[in-house]
């Protein structure tokens, strides 16, 4: 188990390294740089050149890369020129808000998605399945920025039930979480549906039926537990997608998370923030994948034993 864990961690590290390097390259390939944006249209070319030297942007790309990598290894992702603070500090400050949003949305999406998915998957091809698959298609087809604004208009302006935008307490959490949960719930429902449908076709379900168990017992004791295993994997793999959605939802609802921070940082060329945030997202995704594996191993004794088929 231990060497496996070490390997696993090594792989995670590799992935994060790749993520760090990729963002570095993309940002360096982009036209314009921090110096241009920071000084704005008012500056002269000489000012820009001076700042570039000061920031070390005139050094060879590879030197800058090694420098950056060295910093990243010690947790230093550079300083945000806008916030005048360590980028990671700023990001980590915002991170809990994103985590709260993502967790709430995931919880919502899991509840709705699992219920819909199980209802549809236990009778594939029947009316319930068709209706639910229709519903999930619609849920996936509506862009979150659109549904978010619509929810604001409806819940905040027309019904005056919830606050429109902002960060902080639970009331503010409801709308962004719901908006973020809609497509995710649809995704979970679809994964669950096919997983349940697949599992209910397995011979051991027939075995369970042959014992005289009620359909409910067959479903709850045999089918659902086994169908949830792939759902767990898929859900954790799609945490990235959720985080991506959070970027937009945070923007709409002025939720002070990493997503809205990132969007403004991209516009402002605040490299340190962009790099730090993408790396943080990468770490989250990689960690979620690890978590999924651990969870899977807990749920599936075959994986626990290292039996892979």
């Amino acid at each position: 188990m231990l060497p496996q864990l070490v390997r696993r961690l090594g792989l995670m590290l590799f992935t994060v390294w790749g993520a760090v390097s990729l963002t570095f390259v993309i940002l360096r390939l982009a036209p314009g740089d921090q110096a241009t944006v920071q000084l704005g249209p008012e500056a002269t070319a000489a000012d820009v050149a001076a700042l570039r030297t000061e920031l070390g942007l005139d050094r060879p790309m590879f030197t800058q890369y090694l420098d950056y990598l060295g910093g990243a290894m010690t947790g230093d992702f550079g300083e945000s020129y806008r916030f005048r603070d360590s980028a990671m500090t700023i990001i980590l400050d915002r991170f809990p808000a994103t985590v709260v949003l993502a967790l709430t949305a995931t919880a919502l999406a899991l509840t709705v998605g699992l219920i819909l998915g199980i209802l549809a998957g236990r009778s594939p091809g029947r009316l319930a399945d068709r209706v639910i698959s229709g519903i999930t298609l619609v849920m996936q087809a509506i862009p979150p920025f659109w549904s978010g604004i619509m929810l604001i208009l409806l819940m905040a302006l027309t019904l005056r039930l919830l606050p429109s935008a902002g960060s902080g307490d639970l009331e503010h959490l409801v709308l962004p979480a719901v908006t973020l949960a809609i497509p995710f719930a649809a995704l979970i429902a679809r994964i669950t549906r096919s997983s349940v449908a697949e599992v209910t076709a397995e011979p051991y379900i027939q075995t369970a039926r042959s014992k005289g168990l009620s359909e409910r017992a067959v479903l709850s004791r045999h089918a659902i537990r086994n169908s949830v295993i792939p759902v767990v994997t898929m859900v954790s793999l799609h945490i990235g997608t959720l985080m991506g959605g959070a970027v937009i939802v945070e923007q709409v609802f002025a939720w002070e998370g990493v997503g809205s921070l990132l969007v403004s940082a991209v516009g402002n060329r605040d490299y340190a923030i962009v790099q730090g945030a993408t790396v943080l997202f990468a770490i989250v995704v990689v960690t979620m994948n690890l978590l999924a594996d651990v969870l899977n191993a807990r749920l599936d004794p075959r994986i626990r034993a290292g039996v892979t088929s």
Binding site: G40, D85, I90, P96, P163, H172, Q251, S264
Partner: protein, 501 residues
Amino acid sequence: MRSRRHTAIAVTALLGLFATTACGAGSADGGGATGGGEIAVAGQFPTESIDPNGALAIDGGTRVASLQLYSPLLETVGPGEFDGKAAESWEINDTATEFTFTLRDGITFSDGSPITGQDVAASFERTVAADSPFSANFVDVGVQATDDTVTFTPAAPDPALLAKLTGVMITPAEATEDSYLDKPVTSGPFTVESFTPGGDLVMVPNDRYWGEKPTLDRVTIRSIPEVAARVTALETGELDIIWGISDDQVTQLNGNTEVQVVSATGSAVTTMWMNASTPALAKAEVRRALWQAVDFDKKIKALYPESGEPADSVIAPTVFGYAPQEPVTYDPDAAKQALVDAGFDFDTTLRFHFSQAQFRQWVKSVVSDLAAIGVKAEALEKEQAVYTEDLLSLNWDINIQQVGTLGLDASYNLGRLYTCAAERTGYCNPELDRMLKLAGTAVDPAERQAAYADATELIWNEAVGMYPMFVKNLFATRASVSGFEPDVEGLPRFDTVSVDE
């Protein structure tokens, strides 16, 4: 502090406790019966830094915060007119090379330490040293200080220095960048209760402020980037004052009796330079004809009925140096004829650069007006950094930006951007250089005013750019808010605001 707050959110959310706080920090009564009260306000830009003299000094969010939190030496109250803030009085020598300010007696920072001349000098030096956008204003300006005076000595005569100094906010001499990350010591009417970079800034009155103290107990500046969300929040009462709204929203808000709209003239002018170094645009006749070909009045009425006002000068009326000009009237036929006469090549496609989404509608409608007389123009929306690079390298034919005048003195705008050396507009005229130099160095205000008037007339007639519109800032407030009055630069001030429940 900041992280503790977020942990608290996390814990509450995870426990699933449904707190029933009434509409956020909105107009909840602060509890005080006399005056007091709390307001929440929001614009479109997040407050990322509250360092008044740092790199973000003129960034929307930072600037609004600085005005509430800090005091400058003096502030502009009208074109060429100033009021002392931290400075009680000032003296200027005959050559405009020495400016001596005497500070008010017994004034202190929010922590109770006295504000000294050294503090002012240090603030000034930080402004110059930091990559602050203000630093370009202060080339070769020396500074000396005593406990209660501070003296600025520009190497060359700089009659506009007073105006420029209105931007320098006073912070303690020992302040560093890190001082602004948490709860900085302030010198203005408000001080910081809590601040999340990019998030909420909560301000409470500064008890040690020497001037008139704010009536409000608490002001929260929030960032709500989505305009629809911002307007909704105002209508639901979650916010009390908003800005960064468009004219179409004003139409919408006008129907709401709980809301009132306030507009404030700033110094911004919609400026569309035409690159005179482009062969097709080299002739002033051509540039003038293009200007004539666009029906700006109609656009302003349609698109900016509330915030726009047809411009009659290169700089706004609030700015020192303003001189009204003969408006350019829309006449497409004359324009077309003028172009034909000037031998304009109708096959050229003019590259019309812009970078901000707010200009989209405007640019597109200008392009369609030009198309109507057969001039091909291509709207090119540029990514911000690319736009800036292109702008500096004159890699455009027409561009659009809102040009403001910091400190409300034409030297900031005309004096810096229109000289041959600046190479910003593509237009170079030694005559103009001469006028601007005179305007920038003459000690006598009347002489300066006259020189700027000449320069403005030249720029206007030569059509270095099109100057279609003065831009007013739009605010909307709840009806319960009174005393809200933006300053001469069109920026919000909350120290005079009160709220009744």
